[in-house]
């Protein structure tokens, strides 16, 4: 697990490219040995954030601190940070060994030391014996491993990873997720990971930073982000959700889909309009006689572990995940327990969401 000490601190960072504002006044800190994921849809500013920490972009406003020192103006080659780039960006004119040794040679380490460290890295990423291979002869997954080794061999304080698994197939991606996580724990290095894949984020992170429209939507550990999304965007982006508009009747009672439901949320104003999120797996399919809602199954999809059904209850359509299948057209009852109803204060929709170009 991570220390309490703050390694990187970002204060009031904004970034504009021409007329497009990509980041709005971001505050964020990353603790030593923490695995932090910046999660958001493309154009949310997460990659720009990473590039500012790497030193490839200058913030238009705000400051970046590393161990308390202002590094906003420090060029990339003097930062104790290394990056795994989105499409690996390996040196095609060098073989595998020289790719990994690039940073060590610049630091003029003795030859034997370089050799030892490169060997150790190749072992870590399970690529022993590939020293003399041309990087272009490697598969995507292998290139990925070399890119990780090339960065990690320098023993950076922080490893920045920009959608490193994006180009890999599903099975390999799942494997690499686990490997990355165990490498991070083994080496005790701070990871800052950028992805648009919520599953990746949930699997690996200590802390997830959900971003949208150049703003941080929520910061928290995976469980908290999943169970207690702070707003409709987070709820919708993390996992599949049923997102409804409701009205708080009183503390512990919400009106939605034409019915009053018991819930656990308090402190909203009477008759306040709210966003309500219910996860598909939190809706139970029961007999029509005992259900809180009654509806007709509109469609059924087999998803492997579960079935995904769309159930229409007249006032609303629900996405329901269940291990037992109800045929399309059948009448079913639906039940939701109070603590699975997530009530969120309505946020004034951010005026004109800037679509920043993903850099």
């Amino acid at each position: 697990m991570y220390d309490e000490q703050r390694l990187i601190e970002i204060l009031g960072v904004s970034k504009r490219f021409g007329d497009a504002q990509v980041l709005h006044n971001i505050d964020l800190y990353i603790r030593k040995r923490e695995f932090v994921t910046l999660l958001g849809p493309s154009g949310c500013g997460k990659t720009t954030m990473l590039r500012i920490i790497g030193g490839f972009e200058m913030p238009s406003e705000g400051k970046v601190f590393f161990e308390g020192k202002d590094i906003t103006d420090v060029p990339p080659y003097r930062r104790r940070v290394n990056t795994v780039f989105q499409k690996y960006a390996l040196f095609t004119h060098l073989d595998v060994f020289d790719n990994i040794a690039f940073g060590l040679k610049l630091r003029k380490l003795p030859k034997a030391e370089i050799e030892k460290r490169v060997k150790r890295m190749l072992k870590l990423v399970k690529m022993e014996g590939y020293e003399k291979r041309a990087v272009e002869s490697l598969s995507g997954g292998q290139q990925q491993r070399i890119a990780i080794a090339r960065a990690l061999v320098n023993e950076p304080e922080v490893l920045l990873l920009d959608e490193p698994l994006g180009a890999l197939d599903l099975k390999l991606r799942k494997e690499m997720e686990l490997e990355l996580k165990s490498m991070q724990q083994e080496l005790g290095i701070t990871f800052l990971y950028v992805t648009h894949d919520q599953e990746e984020a949930l699997t690996m992170s200590d802390t997830i930073v959900v971003m949208n429209g150049g703003r941080i939507q929520q910061i928290g550990d995976p469980k908290r982000i999943y169970d207690e999304p702070k707003n409709a965007f987070v709820a919708d982006f993390i996992g599949q959700s049923n997102l409804l508009t409701g009205v708080m009747l009183e503390d512990g009672t919400v009106m939605m889909a034409g019915k009053a439901f018991e819930c656990v949320d308090e402190g909203f104003g009477t008759n306040e309009v709210v966003d309500v999120v219910v996860r598909p797996e939190d809706i139970m399919v029961v007999g029509t006689d005992v259900g809180m809602l009654e509806g007709i199954v509109e469609s059924v999809l087999f998803k492997g572990v579960h079935y995904e059904m769309i159930v229409s209850t007249g006032e609303a359509r629900w996405k329901v995940h269940s291990t037992s299948m109800q045929p399309s057209g059948s009448q079913v009852g639906l039940t939701i327990v109070p603590y699975n109803i997530h009530i969120m204060r309505r946020e004034p929709a951010p005026a004109a969401q800037e679509e920043g170009e993903e850099m």
């Binding site: 790497g54 030193g55 490839f56 060029p75 990339p76 080659y77 003097r78 940070v81 290394n82 990056t83 780039f85 989105q86 499409k87 960006a89 390996l90 040196f91 095609t92 004119h93 060098l94 690039f102 940073g103 610049l106 630091r107 090339r150 960065a151 320098n154």
Partner: protein, 271 residues
């Protein structure tokens, strides 16, 4: 396979204007004026009086290539870092000379360097003694560099433009300051462009005869001039052909050596 059809016009062109003439050259080179077989024509190439000419041609072509590389490489590097949707003027400046016929360019150079040319007039106005510019090796070299420089810049520029920005960033990220990024990443990755550029400058430079004739005013005599003399003035196409053929083999050999630096031919192989 149908695509082959599209190459027909070019194949015809090549046949009529390259293959057939080349066969003639080979035929003439190995025959006497009366049409009997001989290898004696080739002896003329290695004749003591001709060797200094061959040497001078290769030396000047080599110097010209080196100067073009020294000027062209930094220029290409500079240009490749620019966004030309805005900075169009720079490209135009580099390319402008290429849009003009090279004889015109060389004539222009002549009027600059002549005894009563622009440069000397300027020198006189400044109260300086006029210089003997035309008819020197330097003048010929200047003319060659002036004419061939764009052929060095373009292939290098093209290859540099293709270098992924992220690869540059990766080098910076791994601790390389700008000079190291240049020497460890940009230069090695632009080798194919360099090879192409050298080829495209060296080949025409070694065979030039118009530039040496116009700016050398008879004082500088190169192998291209020799070949021209045999064909036109001495009316001996047999020796002329033999000289051409030998020169061709020498050029192909020197370029072949160079190709080893770019085995994959990424710079756009010329043969």
């Amino acid at each position: 396979m149908k695509r082959r059809l599209y190459a027909t016009p070019y194949a015809m062109w090549m046949l009529i204007f390259t293959v057939v003439p080349l066969l003639f050259v080979v035929y003439f080179a190995f025959t006497t004026k009366s049409g009997e077989f001989t290898a004696a024509n080739f002896g003329k190439f290695f004749r003591p009086g001709n060797l200094p000419v061959v040497f001078d041609s290769f030396r000047l072509a080599f110097l010209c290539t080196v100067i073009c590389l020294l000027i062209g490489y930094p220029a290409a590097y500079f240009l490749s870092g620019r966004d030309f949707s805005r900075g169009q003027a720079l490209v135009v400046l580099i390319l402008l000379p290429m849009w003009m016929n090279f004889l015109l360019r060389t004539y222009a150079m002549m009027t600059l360097l002549e005894k009563n040319g622009v440069v000397n007039t300027l020198l006189l106005k400044l109260g300086l003694p006029p210089q003997n510019l035309i008819g020197t090796e330097a003048a010929v070299l200047l003319g060659m560099v002036y004419n061939f420089l764009p052929f060095m810049i373009l292939p290098i520029y093209t290859v540099m433009k293709k270098i992924d920005r992220r690869v540059i960033e990766a080098a910076e990220d791994l601790g390389a300051p700008p000079m190291k990024v240049f020497s460890r990443v940009v230069v090695p990755l632009s080798v194919p462009g360099i090879v192409s550029g050298i080829t495209m400058v060296f080949m025409p430079a070694v065979t030039t005869f118009a530039i040496s004739r116009m700016l050398g005013s008879g004082m500088i005599y190169l192998i291209g001039d020799t070949i021209e003399d045999y064909f036109i003035n001495f009316n001996n196409r047999n020796v002329g052909s033999a000289l051409s053929l030998t020169l061709m083999v020498l050029i192909v050999a020197s370029i072949g050596l160079l190709r080893k630096a770019d085995p994959r031919g990424e710079g756009g192989a010329l043969w």
